[in-house]
Symmetry: C2
Subunit: 339 residues, 2 copies
Amino acid sequence: MKKGHQVTMKEIAKKLGVSVSTISRALKDSPELHPETKRKIVEMAKEMNYQPNLLAQSLRISRTKTLGVIVPEITSHFFASCISGIQDFANTRGYNIMICQSNESIDLEMANIKTLVSSQVDALLISLSRETNHYEHLLDLYNREIPFLLFDRVNEDIPVSKVTFNDVGGAYEVTKHLLENGCKKVMYVSGPEDLYISKKRKEGYMQALEDFGVEFDPKMVKISNLTTEGNIKIGQEIAEMKERPDGVFCMIDPVALDILAYWKEKGIRVPQDMALAGFTNNPSSAVVEPSLTTVAQPGYEMGKLAVTHLLDQLDGIASDDPISIVLDTTLLPRKSTEK
Amino acid sequence: MKKGHQVTMKEIAKKLGVSVSTISRALKDSPELHPETKRKIVEMAKEMNYQPNLLAQSLRISRTKTLGVIVPEITSHFFASCISGIQDFANTRGYNIMICQSNESIDLEMANIKTLVSSQVDALLISLSRETNHYEHLLDLYNREIPFLLFDRVNEDIPVSKVTFNDVGGAYEVTKHLLENGCKKVMYVSGPEDLYISKKRKEGYMQALEDFGVEFDPKMVKISNLTTEGNIKIGQEIAEMKERPDGVFCMIDPVALDILAYWKEKGIRVPQDMALAGFTNNPSSAVVEPSLTTVAQPGYEMGKLAVTHLLDQLDGIASDDPISIVLDTTLLPRKSTEK
DNA sequence: CTGTTAGCGCATTCAT
DNA sequence: ATGAATGCGCTAACAG
């Protein structure tokens, strides 16, 4: 199948017996043009169903008005919300977005960057993959002076603006909540240790323990690989412990949901036997039984702030100096921690 | 902030004292080139971190290798899965995608089409908004010979390829399932009547009733506006009926989930008082209590098939004649219908 | 084997 | 107030 022909300025010009530059001027409402000529041209353009070729325009002015977005996975409700926010606010500023997912692979992440750069996007919004443990590709972007920003999954050493949640605070709140609800031994189920959020949320967990005078017990930290199998394995390990925790805080909701499903199957009651809490506020967490206590992260808002700041930088409204935007999270106490 | 300069062929040419066309040839591995020259150029390109400008390339060959995708909303797990499938298989064929969401608004849908067309996408994959009740914008695409295809939310009168689920069959299966599990009075909760899936799923519902010798009762069909409020209102109406149904089939899972939540609050037991089933297989449906019987629609697969067929048409592998691809759904019997 | 030329669609500078 | 000429970065036809 071949694409049908698109009307160009040249054709309008020929039809009207004027030059292409006149068409160009008329269509961008240049003041130095005879009103009548302008009227005729605009009318004819409409009649011929003229649509400007953004490619040519972009090549000419070397700006595409397009932003590249890279997320680990688009099917995650959280990232979908971010994208939604980015899209909406990019659009209101006259920008389009091209979205890529890295599928949590650093190789794909690098390939995505390459593609988006080749596509001449004006800037990038990136949320790093789980696998990303070296950063040459980002430093390369930086060195080539291609504007970009990191959101949610960030690395602190890259000298660009970052938008994150107050992970420490959120984890603190949820740990505190467990402690206040009578838990004596609170466990933290982490993801891989080099993940930014693994570290940050552990920080909050530790801080809360300390503030409540609970001594840290290394046995009360487990690390999941974040697959369903891995999560269930952790659930099993906990179930089989001689000295079980009485409250478990999981780094992200899916971990808690998998563990909950496993425990329910095994007859372990939540919250009676063990309280359980997550982080992120996945849609499922509200409807599961018992409903899962978690920490809400407003993804749409994050996307909105991220893209707005980036465009502010592009447009010279905000300074080029990297800033860190930290969004607050909200503890959502639900049944899974009601002792 | 201004974007840093990108290396062009011209610069490589100057540095090496050869012409731009030689660079071009070397970089696309033309056979009619001195190996040594080629080697030097490739090396220099690498050293200078040359990235081809896809814009220029596309303008030149009038093909962008980019596909436009329009979905009602990206935060829906189903559409996100479709996008994921589209993205993956577009990439393997060397295509990128630009995604837009219509937010269920026909105006935004039209605006999105305009933007994507201006961006010179080679083809479009569109899933219609709920609001879309006239089709000039699609016929316009058709008349302008811009290849596109409709998926999931389609209109049958547009002469292009369509990828849909066997909605009739899926609805038949779920209704049959309710009937076989002892329901005597099965209700269908529909969405707005002009929606394609509202109609198709009703067809399956009616067919099953007929096959099981159950007379159709108009009181056993209700129409929700698909907002949470609307869904709850339906749940309330059902609860207050003198003669309640004993089984309720909802057009989409969110309706069933909202109704379930309302009923639980009111002490109405599922499935004992009324059985309940949905359609789509949202992630929440598996974890809600009781788990919700539903019909699985493989979104990723739909995206994959849709994009593959479209690219086959573009590449001349498949005929340009519109075809209809119908995907099978799978009934997922769960606790909400276990009588 | 390589350089020159032309042109994709558009915006802009320089003429007139 | 309008046209002609130039160039954005790249490819391809043509010429040698």
